[in-house]
Amino acid sequence: MHNNGEKLIGSEIFFECLRRENVEYIFGYPGGALLKVYETLHDVEDIEHILVRHEQGATHMAEGYARATGRPGVVLVTSGPGATNTVTGIANAYMDSTPLVVFTGQVPSSLIGNDAFQEADIVGITRPITKHNFLVKDVRELATTIRKAFFLATNGRPGPVLVDMPKDVLNAECMFEWPENVDIRGFKPTIKCHANQVQKAAKMIAKAKRPLLYVGGGVITAEASEELRKLAIDQQIPVTMTLQGLGAFPGDHPLSMGMLGMHGTYWANQAVSNCDLLIAVGARFDDRVTGKVDTFATHAYKIHNDIDPTNVDKNIKVDLPVVGDSKDFLASLIEAMPKSREDRSAWIAEIEKWRKQCPLDYEIEPDSLKTEFVIDEVSKQTKGHAVVVTDVGQHQMWTSQYYKFTEPRSIITSGGLGTMGFGLPSAIGAAFGVTDRPVLLFSGDGGLMMNIQELVTAVYNKLPIKIFLINNSYLGMVRQWQELFHQEKYTFTDLASSNPDFVKVAEAFGCKAMSASNPEAARNAITEALAYNDGPVLVDFRVIRKDMVFPMVPAGGSISDMLLARLNPKTMV
């Protein structure tokens, strides 16, 4: 701990700032431009540095940590390749509004622009994928810059911020001064919702016969699940959630409709298409949600609450925008609701009819393994009390359909960017942040291979992550599209002849591993894995290779027209 007014060098200021920002973990990898920082780190005892094996892993770990805890994830990497390797994770965090502060080493100021060894213009490279970024040119600006970086990453709509620190700045000395207050004149997010807009929204809700809440990750970020629950239950409004919104409302509640959109439930999409009032909260009308925009919720008056005004009217024109924090929106709405409201029992009954018409179900076959069964079984055994991390692809969509998320911050998944390789490292990051619930990872075999080096990090840190590998030895989602829309030309999606033996791979990393290829073995493996807490465990589920995720809205289609099953792909309901 250092005091204001002490003479410190840049690398000491760096750690003192992190300390004052209450940083617990840094996910990092050393290198030439950061030698001084790692020298200082040697004597830092109150901040834990987690050594990753690839800088992309570090950014995803920081994301997993941030999404699980709500606190900013911190990354520390060297210049040049260290910095460029963070790009995918930064872009991912930007799309999913995850607060990250990424620190990159940079070549000495005097060499910047000279094509120096391990130089990359990381500020230029990451400008379009960060909320903001900084190049620190003078050690006297280091503390203020770090303060601003954390402030920007966590306030308003969260996102990644990058701070580039040249080597000479980290070595230079100055008087340490911690800026208690931050004032950035160009950054004044609207938190409080406009009272008139909220009043109007309340009136519209009271007189709606067929209202629907469409809830996104903004509700999780704003920690507004309690308010959402109260509003939905008091007003009897069914709730559908986006991928990032899952868990905002308990998935086992009768008013929960599960996810909407491309692989959403039939009844959620029917409800969107038939509602007379759509209340979007902390969601951004993403194309995977809306399908064809011209036919999206055409009968509905649309209310849209989001903290980021650019989300309003971006994809869908809304009738009543309410810019502000979702917690403030929901809380003020509850206050503003008139005493009487329309009866919604007929509307809820209609939704039940759709639910019964096309439920999410699957058949258990004794000798083969369906992914739906694996996820359903994990959901039952954990009773929804877990942090569930996914990679990207079919298993991710099945997870959204079959895992019953009952708590906020219980799904961590790459939604906007769809980054394969996100799963394993972000599960590791989540496991550092959360210790009162098990951390589970569902990953495909394709995605697991993309950052499998981080298994070392999990083993070395004895993290009790349950790695449920959904192994169909296909790039299954791409294969699905090839089958449905590309004349069954399975170009480069069959991994069967090239995949390694994942059990052996895991064991070579020192990770407990087992495999299962039928329901009985799968059930036992899940029980065993959930009971094992001495480190990570991997279960290689050898699932049916060619299964497809249904229901499905073909790209660009209307969400009211879903493909319900493979056997009759031309039959639209």
């Binding site: 400008r127 650019t310 309003v312 971006k314």
Partner: protein
């Protein structure tokens, strides 16, 4: 339709790039952009000319506001404003054309800033429309080179 947007930004390294990159990343049209320091050396004023339907322009304004380095964004299009552009026009000069060139330059209140035996450079200030007209009318004399500043604009004062 054409919109004229005035943006006060932090006078910092990389700000112009942030704004220009945002336009290209989001596929917005960027007809001209000009930037210069204001009376406060920490703040620069950007004048941006863009085109688009109302929905697009509303996104442009919001996306500009969202950048951390922008302080104030104003769409001047429907507000009383003064808009000017500077043109430096270098023309071929000969005995047979010089009279006409001088006469036309006078009509546009042009100012000769450089003259040689075979060339003349004239400075024009005016609205972008006037500048366009000037270029069209001088074209037959043979344009050697031209440079335009892009529009700069400011609110008109209160009466």
């Amino acid at each position: 339709m054409k919109h004229l947007i005035s943006v006060l930004v932090e006078n910092k390294f990389g700000t112009l790039n942030r704004v220009a990159a945002m336009f290209s990343a989001r596929g917005f049209n960027l007809e001209s952009i000009s930037i210069g320091e204001t009376e406060d050396p920490e703040i620069s004023r950007m004048t941006i000319v863009t085109r688009g339907e109302d929905r697009i322009i509303s996104q442009v304004l919001k996306q500009l506001n969202r950048l951390v380095d922008t302080i104030k964004v104003t769409d001047l299009t429907h507000q009383p404003h003064v808009e000017r552009e500077l043109l430096l026009l270098s023309l071929k000069l000969s005995k047979s054309t010089q009279h006409e060139i001088f006469e036309l330059a006078n009509v546009f209140k042009g100012k000769v800033v450089d003259i040689k035996q075979k060339s003349i450079t004239i400075e024009f200030v005016g609205s972008p429309d006037k500048i366009n007209t000037a270029i069209d009318l001088f074209r037959p004399f043979g344009i050697r080179e031209l440079a335009r500043s892009g529009a700069v604009a400011i609110h008109r004062g209160e009466s």
